[in-house]
């Protein structure tokens, strides 16, 4: 098990257009990839970015902070909720369609 780095903070939200998961990069741009998110050592720094995101309402809805751990090979959300949110549903999103399996 890799040694985890100290807890850090990330700003996340949902895209207004389709509700997809969004993260704020440190340069204030927006990404769909957790690994690209800006990580902040203090909650206050992350909160400052969250407040900025509140002003991007045409693009983002309901920004909030999540806790993450930095690993040598990436970043790990600390709750099951945020891990699933980052990776997508753990089940196949579309039920197998019989048309695909017929001749």
């Amino acid at each position: 098990m890799p040694e985890t780095q100290p807890l850090k903070w990330v700003v996340t939200a949902n895209f207004t257009s389709e509700g997809g998961v969004a993260y704020l990069r440190a340069d204030k741009s927006v990404t769909r990839v957790l690994a690209e998110a800006g990580r902040f050592a203090t909650k206050a720094d992350a909160e400052a970015l969250r407040k900025l995101a509140l002003g991007m309402e045409a693009i983002l809805a309901d920004p909030y902070l999540i806790e993450v751990a930095e690993l040598p090979d990436g970043i790990d959300a600390l709750s099951a909720r945020e891990r699933i949110r980052a990776a997508g549903p753990t089940i196949r999103v579309r039920r197998p369609d019989p048309r695909i399996h017929t001749h």
Binding site: G19, G20, R81, T90, I91, V93, R95, P98
Partner: protein, 565 residues
């Protein structure tokens, strides 16, 4: 089924147009998300983990084939090719884009559907017995009453901002309860008194969530013409005195519990006395206006087919026999049955239907019935008017669609909420647990040996998966970022309503299905005969025999280890 009049139609069309303008203003930055949120929720649009979710109302679970085709079209054009049946007999879409939602609402309006009041602190979709109108054991079709309640409660100006959401269910079966009326804010039971007069028993203050309660009877007999005024009085008392300071104590069940049943009923009576003889009094003409849309279809006069039904159950085609045994329900009309279309196929999320399946089932509803379907609160479909003679052909068609699993009311006929795969409120996943159980116990013969068992899974304490009333209930919880599952036994949503009790410490994700297996094996050891139902064994013997095998004492573990050496 009920047909919109010109006013109904205009309302849903104008509502779709109105929402289109609200979405445009949201994108233009003219309204904030906080301002927009209540507007979208009033149209059934939630923000979930990965996307928006749109909940479409299916009043009392009754659906036409034309409407189902429209739902399929929406799934294909605006979503990811599937829809999800809910425990309020609705359909949810998990991936709509915001600017498509007004178009979806406009499409729904063309088939007399909408998403109004499927969210928010208002009266939600009125539910009923999914066999209403065809069940052999009902007094009369309860749907005209459910429709009258729907019309009264839709856009009711006093009840648009209640302390909390409000759920009403209607049933008319004296000896069973397929609508879980005792677990609703208001349960309305059509009853017949000793003089042969029909009216309503009204139960108030049931519910699940973090405070599960069985609704007490507030009024044993309300005359038919007084139903709406009585309900209005109940809602007024709740609207005035229900708590708005604490979301967890805001449901009417908390108020009824705090005041006591008699005091609450007295307040309702006092309010009712002022409005009983007002405009809400239902005239015979008004009742007939709505009831005419629920007149029985043009059934053929057929001989009773009970013998044929028995022959099919015991026939050489065992797959068909098991399907007829488990998935058909006796019908009022000789020669007909109601068929449960199981949406609980292993390897697929409970309640998920593809666009193709919806379209084909709509075809089957016309070929093997009168173009009507039902959605059950257990996340299945029902074809209500199938000729017994047609069962082999219907079974073959359903089988080709993957919708013929013979598991109605059996272990794998699972209710599961969307859970942490979709839901913003969830603490743990429900669907993967349900699917693993469906895979592990897919053998229908084993399920038949177990008998009727309900298993219900919720991913959080809000209990959308009805875990409190499962004979076996599973509740997902979060323990320091990891998913765990509490196991409970002894719940029942029906006439014999009871709330399940937790067995003990929660199980990690990797152990919960084994724990269910252990419970089932213990039940088979404990039962006195094959007729000794799971719920009866739990009620008779309590939880202790199950705890003994699930949580063996350290000494037992040592003895077991020793024996293995």
């Amino acid at each position: 089924m009920y047909q919109y009049d010109e006013y109904d139609q205009r309302i849903v069309e104008e509502r779709a147009k109105q929402f289109e303008g609200q979405v445009e203003r949201r994108f233009a930055g003219e309204i904030t998300e906080n301002e927009f949120k209540p507007l979208r929720l009033q149209n059934g649009l939630y923000m979930q983990l990965h996307a928006y979710m749109l909940r479409v109302a299916i009043p009392y679970g009754t659906l036409s084939s034309q409407q189902l085709r429209k739902l399929a079209h929406i799934a294909r054009v605006y979503d990811k090719g599937y829809g999800h049946l809910t425990t309020r007999q609705n359909m949810q879409y998990n991936w709509p884009k915001l600017d498509d939602v007004p178009k979806i609402l406009a499409e729904l309006a063309t088939v007399q559907m909408h998403a109004i009041q499927t969210s928010g602190n208002c009266v939600r979709n009125v539910t009923s017995d999914h066999f209403a109108g065809v069940a052999r054991d009902e007094l009369e079709d309860p749907r005209p009453w459910a429709e009258l309640i729907r019309q009264w409660s839709t856009f009711h100006p006093e009840f648009a901002a209640l302390p909390r959401k409000f759920k009403i269910a209607v049933s008319s079966t004296p000896d069973v309860d397929r609508a879980a009326v005792r677990f609703h804010d208001i349960g309305v039971r059509l009853v017949q008194n000793a003089a042969g007069v029909r009216g309503f028993e009204v139960l108030v203050g049931g519910g699940m969530g973090r405070t599960p309660l069985i609704a007490p009877v507030i009024a044993p007999f309300v005359a038919r013409e007084d139903l709406l005024s009585y309900l209005e009085a109940v809602l007024r008392v709740y609207n005035l005195h229900g708590r708005r300071d604490n979301i967890y104590k805001a449901r009417i069940k908390i108020l009824v519990n705090a005041l006591g049943v008699e005091a609450f009923a007295a307040q309702v009576d006092e309010e009712w006395a002022q409005i009983k003889d007002g405009p809400l009094k239902l005239s015979a003409q008004e009742i007939a206006r709505v009831a005419k849309d629920f007149a029985p279809p043009a059934y053929q006069k057929l001989p009773a087919a009970d013998a044929l039904l028995s022959a099919l159950k015991l026939g050489k085609d065992r797959e068909l026999g098991r399907f007829v045994q488990n998935n058909t329900t006796l019908h009022k009309q000789p020669g007909y049955v109601a068929v449960t279309v199981s949406v609980k196929e292993k390897d697929t999320p409970p309640g998920d239907l593809t666009d193709h399946q919806m379209e084909r089932v709509a075809d089957l509803a016309e070929r093997f019935g009168f173009g009507e379907l039902r959605v059950t609160h257990t996340q299945n479909l029902v074809l209500p008017d199938v000729k017994v003679n047609d069962l082999p052909a219907l079974h073959a068609e359903l089988k080709s669609l993957g919708l013929a699993t013979a598991n109605a009311n059996k272990l794998t006929d699972i209710i599961a909420c969307p859970g942490l795969d979709y839901c913003a409120l969830a603490n743990a996943r429900s669907i993967p647990v349900g699917m693993e159980i469906m895979q592990r116990f897919e053998d229908v013969d084993y399920q038949n040996d177990l008998g009727d068992i309900s298993l219900k899974i919720s991913g959080c304490i809000n209990a959308c998966g009805h875990h409190h009333v499962g004979n076996i209930g599973i509740l997902g919880i979060d323990k320091q970022g990891e998913e765990y599952y509490q196991l409970m036994l002894g719940g029942s949503p029906g006439h014999d309503a009871s709330i399940g009790e937790t067995l003990g410490r929660a199980f990690p994700r990797g152990e919960i299905v084994d724990a269910v297996d252990t419970v089932l094996k213990r039940y088979l050891e404990l039962r006195s005969s094959a007729d000794d139902a799971f719920i009866d064994v739990v009620r008779r013997l309590g939880l202790t025999p199950f705890k003994e095998v699930l949580y063996p004492a350290p000494q037992q573990l040592q003895e077991a280890a020793h024996a293995n050496h």
